[in-house]
C-alpha cells in the first residue's frame, strides 16, 4: 500500500513505531514510539465542561463512545451528579456494543492475519473444511462445502489477480504460520462473516447513540435520549426489542464462532506462543460496567484517610484485609491439564446472574469487571485497590518538558499534568531514533510501577477477585486449549482474554436490555438528572475524574473546573499505559517488556513481533524497525 507522506507525528491516529534490537534470533531490546493525543488538553480548556465530551470523542475515530463516556463521567464526578439507572444501563449497552464489535474486528480483521495465511487457504479442500467447521463450530449454520467453496472463490478474486488489496501487507508463506489449509480457509470464512457481524451490531449505536457514528446522546447527568413507551425515536419498546435482538445475535456469533476459533488458534499455536510475551505481569483495571447505581465516583474510588468506611465501599479490589478469600489459591491448579471439550458448555446461561456476594456492602459499586490490581502474575494473589490519586505520568523519555521544579522524570498526577511538547528527536527522515527521548507517549505509572491494562488485566483481576463467571470463563478456556495457569500470561492468554471478555459482555448486554425494558414497563422513565445543569448551581472550583474500561484497556479523563469553565483536562489512555516508554528509572513499558525474548525467524519479516504487539490491540497502525547489530544492518518494515 502506498503511504502518503504525512509525518506520522502530526496525525492523530498516528503510527506506532517499534525499534527492535535483535540478537541471536531473539528480540533483545525494544523502544516503543507513538504519537497520540498531543494537545487534546488545549482543545478542551476554556470550554463549557458540559461540552467537553463532544470534543473528547473526536480524539479517536473508533473509540468515540468511550471518550464521550469518560468525559461526562469526569464532569459528573466533579459536580457530584448521580445518573439514573436507565442512563447507566444505556451507557453500559453502548459501551458493551463498542467492546463486542471492536474485539471481533480486532481479532478477525486486524490480528488473525498474523496467524492465518490466507494464501494457503486457496489450497484447502472445501469438503474437509466443512467437516472441520462442523466439529469446531457445531452451532454455526454456515458450515457446508458449498459455502467454503464460495469463500474460496471470493478469496481467489483477490489473490488470483496478483493484487492482494487489503491483504497485501501480509508475510504470506512465513514459516511461523502453522495452520492447515483447511483451518486457514475456515478462519477466512469467519473473517468475512465477522464483517457482517460488526455491520449489524453497530446498529445498536444508531438506536441509542443517535444516527451518526459519533454519539450524540450523551449528556452530563445521564443521556439525552427519548425514553418511554410513546417516544417516536430513541428507546421506545420497539427499539429496545431490536436492541435485544441484535444483542442476542452478537452473543450467538461470539458463542458459536469467536470463542471456538480462539480456542482452535490457541491449540495450534500454544507452543511457543502460550509461553511468550508475558511482559510486566502487573495488571490494573479501574473496573467498569456498573451493575448498580451509586453516586458517580468515576468508577474508581479514592479512599479517605484511614481507609474506606463500611458503606460506600467499592467492594471489589480490596482483599488484603480479608484472609478468608485467600485460602483457595491452589484449588484449580489441577484442572488445566488435558484438552477438555466442554468449553462452550461452561458459559451457557451465565448471563442472567451476577455475583453480588462480595459487593453487597451497601451502596457500593458492583461492576461486571471489578476494579483492582494484580501484581507478579498471581492469578490467585491479592487484589490491591486502585486509587486514581496514585496514577501519575512522567516524561523522562517523552517529547515534553515539565515546567515544575522536579524536572521531566517526576511523576505528575493528571490533575497537575502538563502537556508542553518539546521535540528532541532526530530530524526526519531518519532510520533510527537514538535520542534519549523517543516518543510522544507519556509514561503512566501506578505508584511508580509499570502496569498492563486491557482484557487480560480485567479478567486476571476478576479472577483473583473470585468472580464466579470470570473464573469459570478463564478456567474453561485454559482447559479447552490445554494451557497451564502460568500460560494465561502470554500472547495466547491475551487473545483468549479478549474473546472471553467479548462473551461476558455479550451475555450481560441481554441483561441490561431486559432491565431497561422492565424499568420502562414499570414506569421508571428517568434518563437524566438535570438538577445541576445550570452552571449557577456549581461550586466556584471543582475537579473530577471519569474512567472507562475501553476495549483496549483503562481510560481516564481528569477535569478541573474553574469559574464554570474547564481549566485543566488530561487523558491517560490505554495505549499510553501499554505502549509507554521507559520512565525516569529506566523501567520499560508494558509491551516493551513483553517483546523482549520473542524469537525472530527472519528479521526482515518480523511477523513474530507483530503477533506479540498486536495481542495488546494497539490503537495505531504499527511500523516495526528491526536493528540487527550482528547482521546486515537495518530493516524498516511498515505494517498497518
Amino acid at each position: 500500500m502506498t503511504r502518503i507522506a504525512i509525518d506520522p507525528i502530526t496525525r492523530i491516529e498516528g503510527h506506532l513505531r517499534l525499534e527492535v534490537e535483535v540478537s541471536a534470533g531473539r528480540v533483545k531490546d525494544v523502544w516503543s514510539t507513538g504519537a497520540m493525543f498531543r494537545g487534546i488538553e488545549r482543545i478542551i480548556e476554556g470550554r463549557d465542561p458540559r461540552e467537553a465530551w463532544i470534543f473528547a470523542q473526536r480524539v479517536c475515530g473508533v473509540c468515540t463512545h468511550v471518550h464521550a463516556l469518560a468525559s461526562v463521567r469526569a464532569v459528573e464526578n466533579a459536580l457530584h451528579i448521580t445518573v439514573p439507572p436507565n442512563a447507566r444501563l444505556v451507557r453500559n449497552i453502548l459501551a458493551g456494543t463498542l467492546a463486542v464489535q471492536d474485539h471481533v474486528v480486532h481479532f478477525y480483521h486486524l490480528h488473525s492475519l498474523d496467524w492465518v495465511d490466507i494464501t494457503a487457504a486457496l489450497s484447502a479442500d472445501p469438503t474437509t473444511t466443512a467437516t472441520l467447521a462442523r466439529a469446531n463450530n457445531p452451532n454455526w449454520a454456515n458450515n457446508t462445502a458449498a459455502w467454503f467453496a464460495q469463500v474460496q472463490s471470493t478469496l481467489q478474486t483477490y489473490v488470483g489477480s496478483g493484487q492482494l488489496g487489503p491483504f497485501s501487507n501480509g508475510y504470506w508463506g512465513h514459516p511461523a504460520y502453522k495452520l492447515t489449509p483447511d483451518q486457514n480457509l475456515l478462519f477466512f470464512a469467519h473473517y468475512l462473516e465477522a464483517l457482517d457481524f460488526q455491520r449489524e451490531t453497530v446498529k445498536i449505536h444508531a438506536i441509542l447513540g443517535g444516527k451518526n457514528p459519533h454519539p450524540q446522546t450523551y449528556v452530563v447527568g445521564g443521556m439525552s435520549l427519548g425514553f418511554g413507551p410513546d417516544v417516536p425515536a430513541g428507546a421506545n419498546p420497539a427499539n429496545l426489542a431490536t436492541v435485544s435482538a441484535i444483542a442476542a445475535t452478537a452473543k450467538a456469533f461470539t458463542d458459536a464462532v469467536l470463542l471456538p476459533d480462539v480456542v482452535l488458534l490457541a491449540k495450534v499455536y500454544k507452543n511457543p506462543w502460550a509461553s511468550l510475551g508475558a511482559g510486566v505481569g502487573n495488571f490494573l483495571t479501574y473496573g467498569d460496567y456498573p451493575e448498580t447505581s451509586a453516586e458517580s465516583k468515576g468508577q474508581v474510588v479514592t479512599p479517605p484517610p484511614g481507609g474506606f468506611p463500611s458503606d460506600g465501599d467499592p467492594g471489589e479490589g480490596r482483599r488484603g484485609d480479608d484472609d478468608r478469600r485467600n485460602r483457595h489459591d491452589d484449588e484449580h491448579d489441577d484442572e488445566h491439564e488435558g484438552e477438555g471439550d466442554d468449553h462452550d458448555d461452561e458459559h451457557e446461561g451465565e448471563g442472567d446472574e451476577h455475583d453480588d456476594e462480595h459487593d453487597d456492602r451497601g451502596g457500593g459499586f458492583t461492576n461486571l469487571f471489578p476494579a483492582g490490581r494484580v501484581t507478579r502474575m498471581h492469578l490467585d494473589g491479592d487484589v490491591r485497590e486502585v486509587d486514581q490519586m496514585h496514577v501519575a505520568e512522567t516524561v523522562a523519555r517523552s517529547w515534553y518538558e515539565y515546567n515544575g521544579r522536579g524536572g521531566d522524570a517526576q511523576l505528575l498526577h493528571p490533575w497537575d499534568g502538563e502537556t508542553e511538547p518539546v521535540y528532541s528527536g532526530p530530524t526526519p527522515p531518519y532510520k533510527m531514533i537514538t535520542t534519549p527521548k523517543y516518543t510522544w507517549l507519556k509514561a503512566p505509572r501506578y505508584d511508580g510501577d509499570v502496569y498492563e491494562v486491557g482484557p487480560l488485566a480485567r479478567l486476571t483481576v476478576g479472577y483473583a477477585a473470585r468472580r464466579p463467571e470470570i473464573r469459570s470463563a478463564v478456567d474453561g478456556f485454559l482447559r479447552a486449549a490445554g494451557l497451564s495457569r502460568r500460560q494465561w500470561f502470554s500472547v495466547i492468554g491475551r487473545i483468549g482474554a479478549r474473546a472471553l471478555e467479548t462473551q461476558l459482555i455479550a451475555n450481560h448486554m441481554l441483561v441490561w436490555a431486559a432491565q431497561l425494558q422492565a424499568n420502562q414497563a414499570g414506569g421508571d422513565l428517568r434518563i437524566a438528572d438535570n438538577t445541576k445543569w445550570e452552571p449557577a448551581t456549581w461550586p466556584a472550583t471543582a475537579k473530577g475524574f471519569g474512567t472507562v474500561e475501553a476495549p483496549r484497556g483503562s481510560l481516564g479523563h481528569w477535569v478541573k473546573i474553574d469559574s464554570q469553565k474547564v481549566s485543566g483536562y488530561q487523558m491517560v489512555v490505554p495505549t499510553t499505559w501499554n505502549g509507554s516508554p521507559r520512565d525516569g528509572e529506566g523501567k520499560r513499558g508494558a509491551w516493551e517488556q513483553a517483546l523482549v525474548g520473542i524469537p525472530l525467524v527472519d528479521p526482515t519479516r518480523p511477523l513474530e513481533v507483530l503477533r506479540a504487539v498486536h495481542s495488546f490491540d494497539p490503537c495505531m497502525g504499527c511500523s516495526v524497525h528491526v536493528h540487527d547489530p550482528g547482521g546486515t544492518g537495518t530493516t524498516s518494515v511498515t505494517v498497518v
Binding site: 502530526t10 504519537a35 494537545g39 470534543f55 475515530g61 492482494l164 455491520r199
Partner: protein, 170 residues
C-alpha cells in the same frame, strides 16, 4: 428483488481536530443546512474517522458520495471529483488519494467483501493545506472552497439519482 427508493449517502470523512482534515465533517455540517437541495432519499452523515465501522451505513445505498480532504498535489482548496471509483486495488495504490486513504479504501474493500458495496461511488476531494493535530478549523484556502465542494456534492448526487431535479426550487 424488492423495488426500493433510490438511496444516496453523502459521507464526510475526516477529523475535526486536525485542521483541513476536518473538511469532510465541515462539508456535512454545511450540507445539512442545504438538505432540500439534495435529491430525495439522501442521507448526509459525518463519518469522522470511523473507517470500518461505517460499513452499516453503506447497506442498501445506491450512490455513495465520499467527501474528504484529498492529496492531489495541487493548490490548496482545489476541488476535484472522481466518479465511478472502483473500490479495488487501484484505490489502494493510487499515489494521490484521500489522506484517509486507509480508512476509505478499507471501508470500500470491506464493503465489497461483504457484498454491500454501493453500485456508484464518487469522491469529492479538496486539496488540504494544513493537516495538523489538535487544530480546530479549516485553513482559509479550504474554507473558501467549501461552497464549491458542497455544490459539487449536490451536483453529483443529482447526476447519480434517477430523480429529476426541479431547478425552480433549488
Amino acid at each position: 428483488m424488492p423495488v426500493q427508493p433510490w438511496s444516496t449517502l453523502v459521507l464526510g470523512i475526516g477529523n475535526l481536530l486536525a485542521g483541513d482534515d476536518g473538511l469532510g465533517p465541515s462539508a456535512v455540517e454545511r450540507l445539512t443546512t442545504l438538505a432540500n437541495e439534495l435529491p430525495p432519499g439522501t442521507d448526509v452523515v459525518d463519518g469522522g474517522t470511523c473507517g470500518l465501522f461505517l460499513l452499516s451505513y453503506l447497506v442498501g445505498v445506491d450512490s455513495l458520495i465520499a467527501v474528504d480532504a484529498t492529496e492531489f498535489g495541487v493548490l490548496p482548496g482545489t476541488v476535484r471529483v472522481l466518479r465511478d471509483l472502483a473500490p479495488t486495488e487501484s484505490i489502494m495504490s493510487a499515489p494521490s488519494m484521500s489522506v484517509h486513504q486507509a480508512g476509505l479504501a478499507d471501508l470500500l474493500t470491506a464493503a465489497r467483501l461483504s457484498g454491500c458495496l454501493p453500485p456508484r461511488v464518487t469522491l469529492v476531494g479538496v486539496q488540504p493545506s494544513v493537516i495538523a493535530d489538535m487544530t480546530i478549523g479549516l485553513s482559509d484556502a479550504v474554507s473558501a472552497a467549501l461552497d464549491v465542494c458542497c455544490a459539487a456534492v449536490i451536483r453529483e448526487a443529482w447526476a447519480a439519482s434517477p430523480a429529476e431535479r426541479d431547478l425552480t426550487c433549488a
